[in-house]
């Protein structure tokens, strides 16, 4: 096939010692960036972009995309070890990853996360290789109604089988939406809910909230039992990687499902974050161990990580074929392309074959190299947890403060981080769930603006959400997922054998 030939040509371009060195450097830098909360893959790529001006475009994009991979992997590390999501799409990984680390299974969680990421990204790259033009056309069909239906689908797939007081869940989620609404209103340009505070002009940034709620909140919780509390006893087990690999094939269905979710979420500029939440929500509903999610299920780590990385990788596809970046990091890479005089679009495949297939080849190799690098360091990462708490606690606070500051170069965000920390502490103890709140904060603004844009287009007509097969099926699916748990519960009660019903009354 023509594509395979081109791919092998691409490999030959990449496999020079110079480029291989750049790959490893890029991955290492990327992991460091991913680990530092708040720095973000997009920031990291943007900062290091100038470094690459002296290189050839092919080498440069190889290094930058490897930084991108590294950041994707790195985000999972702090999520699992410290409950601090290093990247927005790592939030869902904390739900089961952190409990696993607390139970002394950090190595297992890390291996599961990295391997799932690799699989997700690999599938996405395969898609990239063979289906690039086809997929590109699909991305063009997404307008505001379609975007809103995707966000609706994300919410509905995530909410549902939550335990606990439904009113607390509702309150938490609504608080998230309220926080998302603060700031400049996209449609009218006016200020909302700022009450004259200029610091609130740009609203609450999701990352600041997350660093505070999850990171600082967790430290406050851990402090309760006093400082005699020593580091988690994670044994350094070099065989942990192999042991976890033995367990992973069990979750092939989850993995496949998450790949699909991730790939198509990444292609549309929806991004890796909704993909990870949706994948987690769907896995929780579909799995036999669904009700144990949140207590440290390996499956709960596999699902979001596979989806997030599949999405992060597919995000590069519309960037290259259409010039439409699927994620903030892809946007920076797009900027790089333009600086080098490369025009994204279908012609790129024809005119700059070396570059494009070199990039695609580097995606395979970078992914593999990245996996090797992080897996060899899993025991080392897990060992970080053995550092005694009185040492690690202030260091985490410092890192969080740096992270919160670098989001917008704003001291206000650091103060907000402390406030969110206290809120996170109280909410966790009172069983107000943080996940729906964070999801609402992340997607609230985007969901609302796409809804209102859709309304502007349709002039207030709600049926626009069923106007074509794509948006109609998404909306229907979303609503179906929402009512499914209720329906299933009802069904279960109606069909229970009369013996048990008698016993319960």
């Amino acid at each position: 096939m023509e594509e395979l030939n081109a791919l092998f040509h691409g490999f030959s371009v990449v496999l020079t010692p110079h480029n291989l060195l750049l790959m490893f450097v890029g991955i290492t830098l990327g992991v460091i960036i991913g680990v530092l909360p708040g720095l973000g893959g997009a920031n990291g790529v943007a900062i290091l972009l100038p470094l690459t001006f002296t290189m050839s475009p092919t080498s440069a994009i190889i290094m930058l995309s490897c930084i991108y991979w590294g950041a994707l992997f790195g985000g999972a590390i702090t999520s699992i070890l410290f409950n601090i999501p290093g990247e927005p799409w790592s939030v869902a990984t904390t739900f089961d990853g952190y409990p696993m680390a607390q139970q002394g299974r950090a190595g297992e969680a890390l291996t599961g996360a990295f391997t799932s990421s690799f699989v997700g990204a690999l599938v996405a790259v395969l898609l990239f290789t063979f289906l690039a033009p086809l997929i590109a056309n699909f991305a063009l069909q997404f307008g505001p109604p379609e975007f809103f239906s995707v966000y609706l689908l994300t919410f509905c797939s995530f909410i549902g089988t939550g335990k606990g007081n439904p009113f607390k869940i509702l309150a938490a989620m609504m608080l998230g939406f309220a926080m998302a609404a603060v700031g400049i209103d996209i449609i009218t340009g006016g200020l909302r809910l700022t009450f004259g505070f200029t610091e609130l002009l740009s609203g609450f940034h999701f990352l600041v909230a997350v660093i505070g709620l999850f990171g600082i909140g967790e430290i406050l919780l851990s402090m309760e039992e006093g400082l005699s509390f020593s580091g988690h006893t994670a044994k350094i087990n070099p065989k942990i990687v192999l042991e976890t690999w033995a367990k992973l094939p069990r979750y092939w269905a989850t993995s496949l499902r998450s790949c699909i979710i991730g790939c198509w979420m990444g292609i549309i500029p929806g991004g890796a974050t909704p993909a990870s939440f949706m994948s987690y929500g769907v896995a929780r509903k579909a799995s036999r161990n669904g009700d144990k999610f949140g207590t440290g299920q390996l499956e709960g780590v596999v699902a979001p990580e596979t989806a997030a990385h599949a999405a992060g990788t597919s995000a590069l596809l519309p960037m290259i074929t259409l010039g439409i970046p699927g994620s903030p990091t892809a946007a920076v890479l797009l900027g790089g392309l333009l600086i080098w005089g490369l025009q994204p679009g279908p012609l790129l495949f024809v005119e700059q074959k070396d570059f494009v297939w070199g990039l695609i080849a580097s995606m395979y190799l970078g992914n593999i190299a990245g996996l090797i690098v992080v897996l060899t360091m899993v025991p080392f990462f897990a060992a970080i947890l053995r550092v005694p708490f009185p040492i690690i606690a202030p260091i985490i606070v410092v890192i969080c403060a740096i992270g919160a500051y670098t989001v917008k170069n704003n001291m206000f965000d650091v103060w907000m981080m402390v406030a969110f920390g206290a809120i996170g502490y109280v909410f966790k103890k009172l069983d107000y769930p943080l996940a729906p709140m964070v999801l609402a904060l992340v997607l609230g603004d985007a969901a609302e603006s796409s809804f209102r844009q859709a309304m502007l287009i349709s002039q207030g007509d709600l049926t626009v959400f069923w106007s074509n097969w794509l948006v109609g099926s998404l909306t229907t699916l979303a609503l179906a997922l929402l009512v499914w748990p209720l329906f299933a519960a009802l069904l279960a009660r109606l069909t229970a054998p009369s013996g048990t019903r008698g016993a319960s009354t």
Binding site: A178, V398, M411, L430, M455
Partner: protein, 168 residues
């Protein structure tokens, strides 16, 4: 058992916190509702106004927190599950108060020196490590952060008079 109870001292119950927090959230929701109403919360010819969604969000906040408030008020007498004991709360303050002072420090003298002081003092007084070890760790973290952000990545973090002295 005797010792544990003596040590615990006073405590706050979960239900009490439930009531307080639900009331606070309700108040917040009310503020959101009022502000949205002021912004305009109708559904115009072109779709919803700026305050439309926040209005209903605020309303839902009030309703849900109101329900939680009432539920908790009913349980106020009966339930005794503890939210936090005095000794536990003191431990939380051991990091929360210094952290707040730390952020205050960042505001005025940059991030690198307060980080050094915060880590060093915390290790020394809360962790009971030796002064030397605390100073070393604090200095190491601060220095690494400095190299990483100011020199290498060139991401500007808050700086103060000390950094000016060395030319940054």
């Amino acid at each position: 058992m005797e010792n544990a109870k003596d040590r615990a001292g006073r405590a706050v119950r979960v239900v009490t916190m439930d009531v307080i927090v639900a009331a606070l959230i309700f108040a917040l929701g009310a503020v959101v509702v009022y502000e949205s109403y002021r912004l305009g919360s109708r559904w115009g010819a072109d779709g919803p106004d700026a305050g439309y969604f926040p209005f209903y969000i605020g309303l839902l906040i009030c309703i849900s927190s109101g329900v939680v408030l009432v539920q908790s008020l009913f349980r106020l007498k009966r339930e005794s599950k503890i939210f936090v004991r005095q000794d536990q709360f003191m431990q939380v303050l051991v990091i929360l108060v210094p952290a707040t002072i730390y952020v205050l420090g960042i505001e005025y003298i940059g991030i690198y020196v307060p980080s050094l002081v915060f880590i060093g003092l915390f290790m020394r007084f809360a962790g009971k490590y030796s002064g030397l070890r605390s100073a070393v760790v604090g200095l190491a973290v601060s220095a690494i952060a400095f190299m990483l952000f100011e020199v290498w990545f060139k991401i500007p973090l808050p700086k103060g008079p000390f950094e000016k002295l060395i030319g940054f």
